[in-house]
């Protein structure tokens, strides 16, 4: 049985929406996940009224305060003792929960985890991953997704960090997608070895030297949505810029085309169809389906759900956290780190 602590405060849709997702999961026929709802107990209890849920799988842990998307993470965590994200972290520390899910302030989640958890030995910096739609389908389940990391936890990196991100991303992808040897690539300004700044060139050598990793070399920007690799590694500053570009691009392509051809009726018709389709595609490949993305490098499983997560997205995020913990993410990273650096 997996026990997942979820910080129900701080998501954009409010605690009730997240509680609803947990309630729905609790009554699924094959559910075995113990869900620990962390947040304002009054709000949680009120949200459970009117929901069908299985009390055996739902536990409530009260926290009197929470971090909003607008709060400054550092000040709040320093000054407010009873934040729901901090209380949720404590449950993992105390051995009362196995993994953490949050839809709250990303900076706050990373900071609270940094204060509460240890980094896995050999990991200097953590990485926040993103799951991106790709043209190519990958893994046994033919997922049209690839993992991009880091997307903002570590702005500038060293070569060892990039190596570690590749290794962690690969293990995570192997658990989540049932793709036993995910391919790893470095995001660079050219595919040839030697392209890119020093940290990327050095990481190329480090990744090449480890025969246990399926490292395929450098890829360029467009290779991400093409699906050239399962795990794409870069520094957090670039990853964040690229992520935000990719997230909105399909919709924007439609708008751009519309603008260019607005005067011609036949184009207008095609483009109206097109923009509908692109919006559908976007929904199909969006974060609600895969629930969330991991923050990798801590000695605990941490899944960050999107701030706009609805009940269904949160249900998927909780299942994802359980699956990742069950797949022994942390101990598998620990083992591979020992093989790599010792």
């Amino acid at each position: 049985m997996q026990r997942i602590a979820i910080d129900v405060m701080g998501g954009d849709l409010g605690a009730a929406e997240l509680v609803k997702g947990a309630a729905a999961l609790s009554i699924e026929a094959d559910n075995t996940i113990q869900i620990i709802l962390v947040g304002d107990a009054k709000q949680i209890v009120a949200a459970l009224v009117g929901q069908v849920y299985h009390p055996k799988f739902i536990e409530i842990v009260h926290a009197s305060e929470y971090l909003s998307q607008e709060d400054k993470a550092k000040e709040s965590i320093d000054q407010r003792a009873d934040l729901s994200i901090v209380v949720a972290c404590q449950l993992l520390l105390d051995g009362r929960a196995d993994a953490l899910v949050s839809a709250g302030n990303t900076g706050g989640v990373i900071l609270a985890c940094s204060r509460s958890f240890e980094r896995i030995e050999g990991i200097r910096r953590v990485a926040f991953a993103a799951v991106l739609p790709t043209e190519k389908r990958r893994g046994r389940k033919k997922d049209p997704f690839a993992l991009l990391l880091d997307v903002g936890a570590t702005l500038h990196v060293e070569s060892n960090d990039l190596y570690n991100f590749g290794l962690m991303g690969s293990i995570y992808a192997s658990i989540v997608s049932s793709n036993e040897e995910p391919s790893i690539a470095l995001l660079s300004n050219g595919t040839e070895q030697g392209k890119g700044p020093k940290e990327v060139v050095d990481a190329f050598s480090l990744l090449s030297d480890n025969a246990a990793l399926n490292f395929i070399g450098n890829v360029e920007g467009l290779d991400i949505p093409r699906g050239a690799a399962d795990v794409i590694v870069c520094e957090g500053f670039m990853g964040n810029v690229v992520l935000k570009l990719l997230e909105g691009i399909t919709e924007l392509a439609a708008d751009l085309a519309k603008d260019a051809y607005e005067s011609k009726l036949i184009w207008k018709l095609g483009l109206t169809m097109l923009s509908k389709e692109l919006r559908k595609l976007r929904r199909l490949t969006d974060w609600k389906q895969y629930g969330g993305a991991p923050i990798l490098g801590f000695d605990k499983v941490v899944i960050k759900a999107h701030g706009r997560s609805n009940a269904r997205a949160i249900r998927n995020a909780i299942k994802l956290a359980a699956k990742v913990h069950e797949g022994n993410l942390v101990s598998r990273i620990q083992e591979r780190m020992e093989q790599s650096w010792h």
Copy 2:
């Protein structure tokens, strides 16, 4: 009269295609540009046979060797004395030409210019700019374009470099687009001041402090194609990755959508229309129309045309170089640099 030296060797389509573009320009009714074709004289003369051209506007300067797209720039420039790109640079140095156009190996062009020209005082690193299609139309001529720089000349930058890139990009855009106060933005991982690594945060202050610049703050990845700013500034490593992503994304969006919906006939129809339209859009907004993009920071005007430039693209690149020189790019940058740092 503007005198433009063009290295006709090293483009993907061969010297004849570039000569054809120059010939076409020479017979335009209002042409006043003196075009100096630099390269293998035999090939150039052969290419002129069968073309209609105005000999008054065409001059041929022989160079026995050239740098191909595959050549290693540094070794070639060190070892081969009579490369067409080096000979073309020398024409500018000798005062025999006002500006340089090349469709050759980008690294080679930058290196040859670095060896031949001075950087403008106060400019530590040069920037290679790219012209990108945007949703919003800008400037007096309502160009659907924005300038992104650096896209690969300088992988990692300091805050002063970013400031200088913004200043140079702004002056260039004001000459090319007749937009007198182009807006400048920094590409970052959030729009708020303080977002991004130290060099971006510091550049934010530097750009804000200069009241003569129309600095609008940070933008995120998706803001580039949206057209949130006229000039978008970043380090070359990120700029190159983002550029390659944006260049192919409209086409890819169509393929992605096609893949997702391949089983449904009605979608298939719409998507066939869509991919045709997106390809048309791509052609409309591509580099052939605007001819080339500048390498900024040298004390000479340098326009890099795309390697795949055809005759029409090269004709536009030559006109662009003449316009930029006529607009006094270099002296305007020199003046603003003096105001900024002295």
